[in-house]
Assembly symmetry: C3
Homo-oligomer: 136 residues x 3
């Protein structure tokens, strides 16, 4: 009997805590503008999140899609900064839908980047699993 | 007694599952720029959400307000695409606050569009009821 | 025994209701563009939230950072509107990270504004505590 009560209490507390129980802050950032100023702002925002929260306490995923895909091309003006971002623990993903539409192959993309099938699906699903959304 | 336990367990599980129990992914998209490139991007993003998740598995509401209201004018460059979006199951809403400010009447707006009293109130309330937010 | 049941039920309901139990709608708005049109749009959006929901029913925090910090300079074209926004009950915060990067001091900033150490940390943390996010 006591075990049943204990199980119920644990279940109830899990219910109450589900939204807050993440120990890490999680953030999905959108880059969808063909604007190198925005790319720098996004990377700077991500660094400030690491600085403000502690790099170990925040999961940052940058998703580049549509006109923002240029950020992740190998010859992008911010290519070195993208490499540094990944080296610092961030995830930076290119949208394969956009790549197909623009006839870009992985050979055109920064080797530090990862890939997602659809940038918008990724952004939406991360929000629904508890990530905050930032659109610089 | 068993029924009481069963009820408690169901209640606890409902608590735990409240945030995830939606069977459909729900997305509210904001269009607030006077930029036909952004209008096309928004419509393309919405199509990619349908393609990536299955049209039956996602509820998409596009809200146009402020300088973005131009997307929904009858003579907009994307008027046909707005009709197709609605035909495919999306909701596309014009902000009546913006229409009043710009002296637009329903006669000026794409017949496929719907209306909300305030675009920003709509976007905020949808988020608070569990919609993901996308701002292309 | 009844008390234990009652406690369990209350705990379960708290779990279920945690996300919706806020009586006020809470909104964090981002201003990160060096664009006075966007500053006016943001302030207008905020007024429309107050009008649509009732000023007593909504907590609005506007966070200006990066290129958006210009909105909160004392000589900004919208300085009087920022004062009115604060007088109407909104919070308007300047990002101290941005101020440091641009060598701005509090003497340069609208006296009606408040301050946050990091604009992006503020926006992310408010979302994670239940605020809706609006990026005009």
């Amino acid at each position: 009997m006591k075990r049943v009560f204990a199980a119920l209490i644990v279940t109830a507390l899990l219910g109450a805590g589900a939204a807050q129980a993440q120990t890490k802050t999680r953030v999905v950032m959108q880059v969808s503008d063909a604007d190198s100023g925005k790319w720098n702002l996004a990377l700077g925002n991500a660094r400030n999140l690491q600085k403000g929260l502690g790099a170990a306490n925040v999961d940052i995923e940058i998703v580049a899609y549509g006109p923002g895909i240029g950020m992740l091309k190998s010859d992008s003006s911010v290519a070195a900064n993208v490499r540094e971002a990944v080296a610092s623990g961030m995830t930076v993903n290119a949208c394969e839908n956009t790549m197909a539409a623009l006839k870009l192959s992985k050979a055109d993309i920064n080797p530090a980047a990862g890939y997602v099938p659809s940038g918008v699906v990724e952004i939406v699903q991360k929000q629904q699993s508890g990530y905050a959304y930032l659109r610089p």
